[in-house]
């Protein structure tokens, strides 16, 4: 059975990709199966849990909901693409110190959401933090230590400036 395919050129974490895929293949499949970046996870396949969250053309998006046809000429950043940044390192230190990760499955998506929040707003309130992370489900932590981790990261950023 010959399947309809489209040609995609895109950038993921600064690297250029060129491939042919069915138009309804999802960005999450492109990230995990073509670019072989496994940090982005699939928890629900319907844009509810946030484990597939990535930065797509500058905005956070659930990659399980983006069809390949929209990926052409796009720029995606995944967890692997931010780990070398200064902001990520501050976030990582805070999450480790405050216990913001337990099983770790929601974590990459949670970090992307945190990274995006602190990039837009370096001093969010507690409620703003909770709202920004409300698209990322966590079953282990109850979110208390996640919020504390983000607050700790904000404190560190404040101390640096």
């Amino acid at each position: 059975m010959k399947e309809n395919k489209i040609d995609i050129k895109c950038t993921i974490n600064g690297k250029k990709y060129d491939f042919s895929v069915p138009p309804m293949l999802r960005l999450i499949d492109i990230i995990r199966d073509i670019a072989l970046l496994k940090g982005t996870k699939e928890g629900c396949g319907e844009g509810e849990c946030g484990t597939c969250l990535v930065i797509f053309n500058g905005k956070i998006i659930n990659s399980c909901l983006v069809p390949a046809s929209q990926v052409h000429n796009s720029k995606t950043t995944t967890i692997e693409g931010i780990v070398n940044t200064h902001l990520y390192k501050v976030i990582e230190k805070a999450f480790i110190k405050k216990g913001g990760a337990q099983c770790g499955f929601c974590t990459p998506g949670m970090i992307i959401a945190t990274y995006d929040l602190l990039t837009q707003n370096p001093k969010p309130s507690k409620n703003e933090i909770k709202f920004a992370l409300s698209g990322n489900l966590c079953r282990c932590t109850g979110y208390t230590k996640i919020t504390e981790s983000v607050l700790d990261a904000i404190k560190s950023i404040g101390a640096e400036n």
Partner: protein, 739 residues
């Protein structure tokens, strides 16, 4: 405090990998020439398979197809009883029961192929509720639909009822709950007759999977190897289910000669894996004129689903906890697990106790209201204390002071002033506020002589570089076991925590430490790890490789010298049941648990009388846990457990239709988000337990037991309605407020 000391919040050892997205969960792993597997399941709840039709216009050449005929050994998934089939061959006992397995290297073609297989069935009328099952109108399991039944008796309940001042009777219900671990179930298997079987996967109990595979394939133990991969949450949902998945993947791997990956998507996971047992409780309680408990007659029934799986043990724990933290001289507990035509229900954090404790703690408030007594006063009159006996006749050995614990919790939450304030403020307000609490305990470790039966073992190995490897089959699933074990070892041996490595559970490398369940990992296995570390130190000192007071450098040198002279330095430690445990399994009496953790939880809620939503605004969780080994990790467990229990109480509802969840996606099965939960305030008390590592007791399941009744009690305080059922959804509040 030093990094390696008990009581210090040592950093989670695997955190960097998890944060950077580098931790490898099963779906992140692939092998060359690997095939993907899929499961074809029953569409009916009960009936017979007439025929399996493979679409003749579809090319099946490249597909591996497995049915029950391909099973080399026994067609069952080995558990406690062996009534669950690995693949159905004739009778269907629940919707989504697995019948055919297929595999192909193209996962998209595989999905299309699933729809090309038609299972022709003859439908029979199913049994879909506890009530239905009890009626015996249709027998679907054994002789009478009763998977397990037993009685716990203490004193003379009938006699006590005759002299009662007041008898209060009520029924309570709890619904099913889906674990909704963020990472779905998944296994990769490789199998051949010569090389044996290797499986990798998301799981809590590698040796359970090992046992199931030996039975299914009729292969010697040494030919089967089970390796746990990073597990993205479990909560009991990966205690027994992975055995089924491993059997399926291994059958496909055996037939195809290739690696096979079988990973469920969210919908398949919700539809076909285990849920918390729905429960029905009936309490009939007699009190004297002073409010003292005279007698309790309790019926505790669980919906077990189509096969026995974990039901006998869930029933046991639930029934034992049904008497709670009170002293009652006369108790009769009738416990039954009933079969229904639904996917078997299974282990879920709390394991029967959240169900019975909800009923009990709601009941206690109901009686107090009837007696016109404040709920805290009624409890104080009846609290158990050390020296008194529980419902199973277990004399409480450890020091317990529930009165002080309750006072502390009420003070922390400003309970008394809030009761008065809310009563005033609720007048004429759309939002009604309320505060409520629960008092409870949770038995740590396996029930009765279970730990003795498990006969768990651990090992500690010192390498020539002075590194310490901890070898146990206990699995890390986010609870922090890797870190806690590292802390215990580094504390005993007085070495940097970075010199300790907890080896990933692999049945070819680690001894059987039993399953990672029952709040036993720190308390029971952590103690064995501590013992082994002590024995290692003692050995090196006795053989003169170390002095009593040594430096880390000297320790490393000692390991190096020892291994040079004697070869491998490996110390085993095996569980020995404390002499004070005496249990009668048949009568279900005696020492049910080695020890208990005790707690008082307070919930503050607001109910919107226009939208009928109930929200938890504040939560205080106070518990006595023996010893807190790692405060951050321990708090994390309590916060997470409370969050799951808030979900159980206010958000999570399975809409059953014909024995199957209608809401099988995350968009329709709702768990709390960050916006739905308050900051959960956690407080610990410590009364060291003699047999725990540094005095620690189990805490993993405790936080699941208390929130539901505390919240229900709080809602009653807010709007005057006593909900005897959970979940409490807006539609239920709407119905009650408008009736």
């Amino acid at each position: 405090m030093k990094q390696n000391q008990i009581g210090y919040s040592s950093l989670r050892v695997e955190a960097p990998e998890k944060l950077r997205g580098r931790a490898k969960y099963i779906d992140d792993i692939a092998f060359p020439d690997m095939l993907y597997g899929a499961t074809i399941r029953s569409e009916i709840s009960r009936g017979k398979i007439l025929n399996i039709d493979f679409d003749k216009n579809f090319n099946w050449d490249e597909f591996t197809i497995v049915t029950s005929k391909d099973i080399p050994g026994k067609n069952h998934v080995a558990h406690i009883m062996n009534d669950q089939l690995c693949l159905s061959d004739n009778l269907i006992n629940h919707k989504h029961e697995p019948i055919v397995l297929i595999a192909h290297k193209d996962k998209y073609l595989l999905n299309i192929a699933k729809s090309k297989i038609l299972i022709k069935t003859k439908e029979l009328k199913p049994v879909l509720s506890i009530k239905d099952s009890l009626s015996k109108k249709r027998i679907i399991w054994g002789k009478d639909n009763v998977i397990k039944q037993f009685n716990i008796s203490k004193g003379d309940v009938k006699k006590a009822f005759k002299i009662a001042h007041l008898i209060f009777e009520r029924e309570y219900y709890t619904g099913a709950q889906e674990h909704l671990y963020l990472e779905t179930n998944g296994i990769i298997a490789k199998a051949s007759h010569n090389d044996g079987i290797t499986v990798w996967g998301s799981m809590q109990c590698p040796y359970f999977v090992h046992h199931a595979l030996t039975s299914l394939f009729n292969l010697p133990k040494e030919k089967i190897r089970v390796i746990q991969t990073e597990t993205g949450g479990a909560f009991g949902g990966k205690e027994d289910y992975p055995s089924i998945l491993a059997c399926h993947a291994a059958l496909l791997a055996f037939k195809s000669g290739k690696h096979v990956k079988l990973v469920y998507d969210r919908e398949e996971d919700i539809l076909s894996t285990t849920k918390r047992h729905p429960s029905f409780s009936r309490y009939k309680t007699a009190v004297d004129k002073n409010g003292k408990l005279l007698a309790m007659e309790i019926d505790f029934y669980l919906d077990g689903g189509a096969y026995s799986t974990m039901s006998p043990v869930v029933l046991s724990r639930g029934a034992i906890h049904a008497g709670g933290v009170y002293f009652c001289p006369n108790i009769e507990i009738n416990a039954k697990a009933l079969a229904t035509n639904t996917s078997p229900h299974g282990a879920f954090r709390g394991f029967g106790a959240p169900q019975s404790i909800f009923a009990l703690e709601k009941h206690i408030n109901d009686i107090a209201k009837e007696l016109k007594m404040p709920p805290e006063e009624f409890r104080r009159i009846n609290f158990i204390s050390d020296g008194l006996k529980t419902s199973t006749g277990q004399k409480i050995r450890d020091k317990v002071d529930l009165n002080t614990l309750l006072s502390k919790a009420l003070k922390l939450s400003s309970y008394n002033s809030k009761i008065k304030r809310f009563e005033k403020e609720n007048n004429g307000s759309q939002i009604k506020k309320g505060i409520g609490f629960s008092t409870f305990m949770h038995g740590a470790g396996f029930t009765g002589e279970g730990e003795k039966r498990l006969a768990s073992q651990v090992a500690i190995k010192a390498t020539k570089e002075g590194k310490i490897h901890v070898l146990t089959s206990s699995t890390e699933m986010g609870q922090g076991k890797n870190t806690v074990f590292s802390q215990i070892v580094s504390s005993v041996l007085k070495i940097d925590i970075n010199l300790v490595e907890v080896i990933k559970p692999d049945t070819s490398k680690v001894p059987d430490s039993g399953p990672t369940v029952a709040s036993r990992t720190t308390m029971v296995i952590g103690k064995l790890v501590e013992n082994a570390a002590v024995d290692l130190k003692t050995l090196l000192i006795q053989k003169k490789y170390l002095n009593e007071n040594y430096s880390e450098k000297e320790f490393i040198k000692a390991c190096s010298n020892y291994t040079k002279n004697h070869g491998e330095l490996k110390i085993f430690s095996k569980y020995k049941q404390p002499s004070f445990i005496k249990w009668n399994e048949n009568a279900h009496t005696g020492d049910a648990y080695a020890t208990f953790s005790w707690a008082v939880y307070v919930a503050e809620v607001s109910v919107d009388t226009k939208t009928y939503e109930a929200k938890v605004d504040n939560f205080w969780a106070l518990q006595e846990v023996g010893k807190v080994i790692n405060p951050t990790l321990a708090e994390g467990q309590i916060e997470g457990g409370v969050a799951q229990a808030i979900g159980f109480t206010l958000f999570e509802n399975i809409k059953w239709e014909n024995g199957s969840p209608q809401n099988s996606k995350m968009s329709s099965y709702i768990i709390p988000t960050s916006m739905d939960l308050p900051d959960i305030k956690v407080f610990f008390e410590e009364v060291p337990y003699s047999e725990g590592p540094e005095g620690a007791k189990g805490i993993g399941e405790l936080p699941m037991d208390g929130p539901a009744p505390a919240i229900s009690n709080a809602i009653e305080n807010a709007v005057g309605i006593s909900f005897n059922r959970i979940p409490i959804l807006p539609e239920h509040i709407c119905e009650k407020l408008n009736s």
